[in-house]
Symmetry: C2
Subunit: 256 residues, 2 copies
């Protein structure tokens, strides 16, 4: 049976999702747990690569096995074997042709900031701290200018291997809201370039600080020039929140 796993993980202790030599990764840790449960090592395919330190509340992966354990039993057994910073929140049978990456129609990322004069020890490694007040209304006004289909070269880390003419992506939703001292950027799109959300988050911080005007976002996008956008926000604030497949409704606040 192929199992579709939905995982939540705190990425602080991991070098991202994908298997790397000499570095602890989430996929490897889940494979270890599955091996302990099923007695054999199976392929595990994730919905995306994630950077070191990035978190997830709804990461989707497929474990391809020749076993037929009930999904609910596999879920429980995996959670017993997994370390406390990774958890299987859902487990169901996946159709044979289900691919968590190619089948994904959209993904939603959250980027979490908080503003308070002093650091909050409980937000360590979980959110980006701003000692200055964050201007969430201004940030939201800027965020909405990312909506739609654009070439996001200006928001792609140098070293990204995708040719410039293939850097078009569509954002269906992009907004900023405040919850107490937390400020949350929510971005849903059909795909993301390398460091794209983190560069957007860093740019929105500069919008909050008045270094970039909300109205300039369109021009920065059009420039396709990475140096026009803001800095890359730290990975600790980024969460892969949800992956949308055929059956799921994608929030569509966009203009496209």
């Amino acid at each position: 049976m192929n199992y579709r796993l939905t995982l939540a993980f705190c990425g602080t202790g991991y070098h991202g999702w994908q298997v790397q030599q000499n570095a602890r990764t989430v996929s490897e840790t889940v494979q270890d747990a599955a091996e302990a449960v099923l007695g054999r090592r199976y392929d595990l395919t994730g919905c995306s690569r994630t950077d070191s330190g990035v978190h997830a509340s709804g990461f989707v992966a497929v474990l391809r096995t020749d076993k037929s354990l009930a999904p609910s039993s596999l879920l429980k057994a995996l959670n017993v074997k997994l370390p406390p910073d990774i958890s299987v929140v859902d487990c169901r049978e996946a159709p044979p042709d289900f691919h968590p990456r190619y089948g994904a129609r959209a993904k939603r990322y959250l980027y979490l900031y908080y503003d308070s004069p002093a650091r909050n020890p409980f937000y360590r490694d979980r959110m980006w701290h701003s000692p200055q007040h964050l201007e969430e209304t201004r940030m939201d006004r800027a965020a909405r200018l990312f909506l739609g289909r654009h070439n996001f070269s200006a928001f792609c880390a140098a070293g990204g291997k995708i040719p410039e003419e293939e850097r078009f992506r569509t954002l269906y939703d992009c907004s900023v809201r405040r919850e107490g001292e937390r400020v949350i950027l929510s971005v849903t799109g059909d795909g993301f370039l390398y460091h794209m959300v983190r560069i957007m988050a860093g740019t929105l911080l500069e919008v909050s600080r008045g270094k970039i005007a909300p109205e300039d976002i369109g021009e920065i996008i059009a420039s396709r020039d990475r140096s026009r956008a803001g800095l890359t926000a730290p990975s600790c604030g980024l969460y892969l929140d949800h992956v949308f497949y055929e059956e799921g409704g994608i929030p569509h606040d966009g203009t496209c």
Copy 2:
């Protein structure tokens, strides 16, 4: 100048507040930071002892110095030197006779549970996980029976050194509320016995599970028998939230 510090700390990496041999404690870590800032080691007195792994959002301590640095400058400098799991959230001059423990009129503790079928990696070491649904209304009904002045011997860890006749404490507020999947026990009292809140939290879990009826709380208190109360809840869910001194109004939902 004597400085009154309000500290937030994540207690996971510490053996409680008070200085111990061969164990990293919060007070020592704060003293180290103060020494790095002020060039000399000074006495630091806390408002309470805390167990290993217990957190705080409003722990109060006094640093007695012969310096006259502005409190706002000391706050900033300490936060630069402190590790990310401890933060000074307030710093002000303390009157010479201010004692954070003896001057405290009441303290508020929070105990955090959460209920979800699978563990939440982001709540690790921060809350007590219940795979079963928590019956917060039932727990709240029981919690309110703790209000008032009682001998809390039944809620004092064996090994507590206080004679039984001195185990009277007054609770001004004791309630349970739900916020999403989090269930929060809030307890305000004039003092607490060893492990008292954790035993109350463990007892309320058994109330949720139906092993103890809410109405039985009065009888358990009256028995003064530790074995009648529930288990001791893990330290990771406990937060010292606020210390009330003369100037602060103590919430007074109690009957006393």
